[in-house]
Amino acid sequence: MTLKTEPITVNIGPQHPSTHGVFRLRVAFDGEVIQDVEPVFGYLHRGSEKLAEERTYTQVVTLTDRLDYVAPMTSNQAYVLAVERLMGIEAPERGQYIRVMMAELMRIASHLMMIGFFLQDMGAFGTPLMYTFREREDILDLFEMVCGARITVTYMRVGGVQADLPPEFTPALERFLAKIPGQIDDLEQLLSGNEILIARTKNVGLLSAEAAINGSVTGPALRASGVDWDLRKSDPYEIYDQLEFDVPIGENGDNYDRFVLRLEEMRQSVRIVRQCKEQMPGGPHRLELPMLLRPPAGDAYGRVEAPKGELGFYLVSDGSIAPYRCAIRSPSFINLTVLRDMLIGWKLADMVTIFGSLDVNMGEVDR
């Protein structure tokens, strides 16, 4: 006799701790196997794009902090680059170096957080997360030194950065750079060879290069699938063309590759920060611009390689003090398009790890 079975639908989230924010997944299960997934989002919608239309160009910087709250510096950078393109200006060299340095420190911090939560999702409860948070703390201290805040930095300005580096910054940065490579190695040693981790990540959550490209996936998730696409190399902005670094590429596009690739990216970011520190030119850190900007009518798109992928701001100006339209291409949101295909066929226990390996930030998804 055969039993008649029916798929059951389970709601995961929006308050579930492993959905990394207020994200809801409506999942149809056949036993333990995922049959269908419907992501539901919008719980964190704050209308940042609309709010930007009634803020002046300088004030919008404060909104960008709150998009990807794990990596506010890169959001700042993408926005100011878009405005600079709109106005046809460029920041002085020192300003660009400081910006790139901050963006790379931010990348390390963001990847640390991703790794901590990824391991936590896998059951390594607490310990790795505490280690990564300790390392991230040093970076946030550096941010507090330069701009007075740890998360809501509002540091970058159109035409440079808000303030020059303070005197205590360089020694603190040197201490940090001496420490961090060992800490990344520790993190790798902690779990990379672990049998449980390998069993749960190798060949799990495969994303083929073709599917990734078709889904417009960017960032580490795309590179782990073996596609060599990094805006810092393929469309260099600011001073990235004067810096030496490698873009790590994965092979299989599984959870393991996405995890290891981020470790490797952090090492490359350390290299970049070190070069920035050594090559840091003198001169002004900021152009002399009024606080109230009036870019000429027109439109511009500025994009950066944020820790999660390509982050772009599309701005339309009508010549007034506020953007006429501000559209945000957020990598987290667009990377989610492949989630359904990645999850179908896997078990419930893999769901959270596959989702975690994409490194999605809800603040950026819902904007």
Binding site: T58, L190, M291
Partner: protein, 163 residues
């Protein structure tokens, strides 16, 4: 070898067992704030403020409320008298744009961070509170203040704060 990865990982945790903890036991110990810290208790010097309201205009949230009147002293011609200067810190996000915008260096970010209250209205800092408050300005957007260490009782006068 099976279990090698676990042993390696355990070696890392063991190493950490003998390290000094990085946590700070908060109420007894305090982590130092950096000079540029954008903190609570805005510092405002009434003698410098002209009532131009640039700070209120540049605030992205409309947190600062200013009402002016004609200057009561007939010998002073270059400023307004201030009736209301309220900062609603319950809305404020401590972005520092107001401090950057002030053309007369009258407004500074503060250096405090322990101002939890029970009600929303009590988060509004009124003009009298601003006048009476201990002035411990932060070096945010005012680089000449860099390196000042504030003791509990220090309060910088307008002259000491410099420009």
């Amino acid at each position: 070898m099976y279990g090698e990865g676990i042993l390696k990982g355990m070696a890392v945790t063991l190493k950490h067992l003998f390290k000094k903890p990085v946590t700070v036991q908060y109420p007894e110990e305090r982590a130092p704030m950096f000079p540029r810290f954008r903190g609570y208790e805005f510092v405002w010097y009434e003698d410098r403020c002209t009532g131009c309201a640039s700070c209120a205009k540049y605030c992205p949230l409309g947190t600062i409320r200013i009402e002016t009147e004609t200057e009561p002293d007939p010998n002073v011609g270059d400023r307004y008298g201030l009736k209301v200067f309220d900062i609603d810190t319950g809305r404020c996000m401590f972005c520092g744009l107001c401090v950057e915008a002030c053309p007369y260096d009258a407004l500074f970010m503060g250096t405090g961070f322990e101002r939890a209250t029970y009600t929303r209205p009590s988060m509004v800092v009124h003009i009298d509170e601003l006048r009476a408050a201990k002035k411990k300005p932060s070096a945010y957007a005012r680089p000449h203040l860099h390196g000042i260490n504030f003791e509990d009782e220090t309060s910088l006068s307008s002259e000491e704060a410099g420009r």
